[in-house]
């Protein structure tokens, strides 16, 4: 038996990120930082949110947090410069003998 901490009023402390959803899908969004123009469309549309703009080499690029990326393809579809590729996770790359 475990001892549970019960917040009265079924109240909950804020913003748990304990549920890592990065293992949900079969694919992951990968950003081609060369092509990325840092427009932020993917950030706006990502439902998780698992994408943010990060300053790299004096330009802003999208960075995907693979702990939470569910591989939904939404960023892929909204990227105006096709800088995002959807890559099959290694575990699903089955080699056929």
């Amino acid at each position: 038996m475990v001892k549970i901490k019960l917040y009265i009023g079924a109240s909950n402390p804020p913003l748990s990120t304990s549920m890592k959803t990065g293992d949900w899908g079969t694919e992951l969004a990968i950003v081609d930082e060369e092509k990325c123009i840092g427009c932020g469309q993917c950030v706006t549309f990502c439902p998780e949110p698992a994408v943010e703009l990060v300053e790299k080499d004096e330009k802003k690029v999208a960075v995907v947090n693979h702990d939470y990326c569910k591989g939904c393809w939404v960023c892929y579809t909204v990227c105006p410069v096709s800088a995002i590729e959807m890559e099959t996770k290694d575990i699903y790359k089955i080699e056929v003998c």
Partner: protein
């Protein structure tokens, strides 16, 4: 701290998280959220796994309008009204159907609340049962396709019109395909004192039978066909409409979704498609959608 997520359990490609996050960002996180029972609640508010970065309360399926009214009244009574906007997130089932009474009461009393209905056009939380927001011809588990019936019979309820009829200061429709437009509308709503109603079209990948990668495209097509006009009312006057350059035939929207697939083979399918096209045409005429 993020305002919403990550770590929630919505399906990959789900539409409403885009709206929820967009709205909270538009308000700079100055929000107390009231949420009706539904998909959003289930994916975000499990005990010990709350993914909200703003104060949040969920009570029942059908009372978000009244709970929000109560929160707002309390803030007024306690002289805390400048602390935050009271924002409701409710699905179409909670808004168009079971919670309609409390929403009407909230709008009638003109509480200072921003009510955002994320409209995925059926009870998606429980597996796609029809609501009054379900469009004509859509197959749901309670309006299934059979030898006789071609999915839902009857039209989608005009909640935007009903909200306008309540005489509240601000009413708008939006779509997750146009997040900047939606965010602007939320900001605009926040400028009015009184009840605000925003209805945001938000695809459900499982219920509609689409792939996550089609979420944005399908939502965009709903707007581009005229089936989901993006309109804005201020103090009862239609003030802004998203114009459509070349309105697309509704079939382009319908053919991408499993819930409408039968329309292309069912004996009554053609009739339904024509009916939906008529709805789109009427919308175009009523709101002057065609650019």
């Amino acid at each position: 701290m993020n305002l919403f997520g990550p770590g929630h359990g919505a399906c990959p490609g789900c539409g409403f998280p885009i709206a929820v996050r967009g709205a909270l960002e538009a308000l700079d996180g100055k929000a107390i959220v009231v949420n009706s029972t539904g998909c959003l609640e289930i994916v975000s508010s499990m005990y010990n796994r709350n993914t909200w970065g703003v104060p949040y309360v969920h009570s029942l399926f059908e009372n978000a309008g009244a709970v929000a009214a109560g929160v707002e009244a309390a803030l007024r009574a306690l002289k805390r009204e400048d602390e935050a906007h009271v924002v409701v997130f409710a699905g179409d089932g909670a808004t168009f159907d079971i919670g309609f009474g409390t929403l009407s009461g909230m709008m009638d009393r003109n509480h200072n609340v921003i009510y955002i209905c994320y409209d995925n056009e059926a009870y998606q939380n429980t597996g796609n049962q029809q609501s009054m927001a379900t469009p004509t011809g859509a197959a749901t588990t309670t309006t299934p396709v059979g030898n006789i019936l071609p999915g839902k019979v009857g039209r989608k309820k005009d909640m935007v019109g009903i909200a306008v009829a309540h005489g509240i200061p601000y009413v708008a429709s939006a779509s997750i395909a146009y997040p900047k437009d939606f965010q602007r509308k939320v900001k605009r709503a926040a400028e009015f004192k009184g009840a605000k109603y925003i209805q945001v079209h938000s695809p459900c990948v499982t219920g509609w039978g689409i792939d996550g990668k089609l979420t944005v495209e399908v939502a965009k097509l709903a707007v581009e066909t005229g089936l989901y006009p993006l309109v804005e009312y201020e103090n009862g006057q239609l003030v802004r409409v998203r114009k459509i350059k070349e309105r697309k035939p509704v079939t382009e929207y319908l053919k991408l979704q499993r819930r409408f697939r039968h329309l292309f083979s069912h004996p009554k399918g053609q009739e339904i498609i024509e009916e939906l096209q008529r709805v789109a045409d009427e919308n175009a005429k009523k709101y002057g959608l065609d650019a």
